[in-house]
């Protein structure tokens, strides 16, 4: 059983991510936050007062009341989540934003593809790799589209 911290305001995307995990036969529990403010508060509390520490932190970039980057910045202040792999899951990022989130501690940026199979392959594969402890950061900074590595690991 893996525990996933998920900041995502689109319920349809939450369901797609769940489906992707199911297809990878990953047993999971998701804590879903739908605004940046909620997610920041939650990530700050992880590990404190019996609040669980997740195995993976997935953050949408554009959220009500803020950005995924704001949550990464808050997470960087909490030593309990320092070793937890974190990834931005988004439609796309503007130039410069990829470098910014990598600097803030994201292991990689996962781009949500259009199309069901593509979504399952890309998002499922990347999450699986992250949970195995593979570092999918690296060259991501130079390749904002960066889905090649994730696919290869399949």
């Amino acid at each position: 059983m893996v525990r996933i911290f998920l900041a995502e305001d689109n319920a349809a995307d939450v369901w797609l991510i769940e489906e992707a995990l199911r297809r990878k036969s990953i047993r999971f529990e998701i804590d879903n936050y739908t605004t940046a403010a909620e997610a920041i508060e939650a990530v700050t509390r992880c590990g404190l007062e019996n609040a669980p520490v997740p195995d993976l932190i997935l953050l949408d970039y554009n959220l009500p009341s803020g950005h995924g980057a704001d949550i990464l910045a808050a997470a960087a202040q909490n030593p309990y989540v320092a070793r937890v792999p974190k990834a931005i899951v988004t439609s796309f990022l503007q130039p410069g934003e990829t470098n910014h989130v990598i600097e803030l501690g994201a292991a990689c940026v996962i781009t949500k593809p259009a199309g069901l199979e593509e979504f399952m392959r890309e998002v499922g594969g990347r999450i699986e790799a992250l949970l195995r402890g593979a570092v999918c950061g690296g060259s991501e900074a130079e390749r904002p589209e960066g889905s090649e590595q994730g696919r290869k690991r399949l």
Partner: protein, 507 residues
Amino acid sequence: MASPGRVKLLLVDDDQDNLLALEAVLEPLHQELMLAQSGADALRLCLDHKFAVILLDVRMPDMDGFETAELIRSRKQSRHTPILFLTAYRSDEQLFRGYDLGAVDFLFKPIVPEVLQSKVSVFVELSRNEQLLQRQAEDLTRAEQRFRAVLEAAPDAMVITNREGVIELANSSTDALFGYSRENLIGRNIRLLIPDWEPLPTANPSARTGEMRLVGVRGDGSSFPARITRSPFQASGSWLVTTAIRDATDQVQAEARIHRINAELERRVAERTAALSYSNDALRQFAWAASHDLQEPIRTVLSYSQWLAAAGPETPGESRERMLHIIQDHAGRLYQLLGALRQYVQVSESGAAESAKANWTPVDCNAVLRQVTANLQGLIEETGSKVEWDELPAVQGLEVLFVQLFQNLIANGIKYHSSAPPVIRVHAEMSDGNWIFSVEDNGVGIDPKYFDYIFGVFRRLNRAGGTGMGLAICRAVVERMSGRIWLHSSACGKGSIFRFSVPARPQ
């Protein structure tokens, strides 16, 4: 130097043989010899020729040498011609009379050729030197005339001074430029005209300074900007300076005008560049935000319609229904977003703003509020809201924009209500030529850290329904009416106060 041209010698003797003898003696001097056999002939020749020397026999019939000499002397053009008398008698009386008449020497017969040649040679040489001197004097006069003509023709005031600045010469342009008469300037210091004129340095007087800008002072005390060039030169061992002075008033004014025009141009370019780069930047941000927020519903519709299409019999009907619902929901959301986007673009499009200004009319904000509450009738009744306003002013603008603005602000206040029934209050006050409108609610309030954030495009604070465009549209409306919009926390700590300003008299 002048060429040593031949000079003329006049030989006067009544005796033909004597004349021939004199001619023979003087031939080797290679000068032009003219012969006269009487005083009258000699006088005639003196009318037409200038002689270096006249050899005059004293004893002649009719008119003797002395009489002839007297008449020669009496004529202006021959007054200074040297006369050598030839005589056979050494008499003191004769000598005195001869010298009285201007004789320069006497030669006694019999003539010794060498003595005659040598004496005449002296006069030939003398005459040549005189010619040379005269030619040089003429050259000098011509040069002086040329120099003065140039000086007078110069459009600039030209003043020649010694190295300390004492004026020796000034041209007529100087009179015209400074309003002095030249005679009054000679001998005075040029600093009268150019107070900052500096004497030539002793170390390196010939050093030419470039053009200088100094102040010129006229006779009437008025001053003007002057362009000055100085050319030092040496004359007879002492240093003189020609100072050329030109009135630079026109030039300075033209330069100032060019400078003003340039500065104005630069300012406009900078302004325009800033405006363009601001609008470019805003447009870029807008395009990113729009493409991001529009892509999400499309992607969802695409994925879920594929999922639904691929769903086999094992998929429960409940799930299929949920997928269909998500598809419809996101398609509807896309439609809603596009509508908000269109509204935003219409409001903020700057070209339209410029042309629309001409269509501005006084807008009665009381009427606007009546319109808005009518539009929001359903929402107001559903939530049990109260919308109140004081007497509001009329302001210049477009009514449709004010309706949009107030409707967005009031609907926000109602939607984000707290547990208490929503109360929205609108009022306006005058401040520094602007009307400041306040829309105050008793809703959930907004954390001050989002006060700027919420005016951006597609910015939401929670996931309830909205497009994230409402306040972006409000800002675009206010900015189009040359105002600004901002946000306060309500004084009681509950609810928010949106304020916006619009010029009471738009420019």
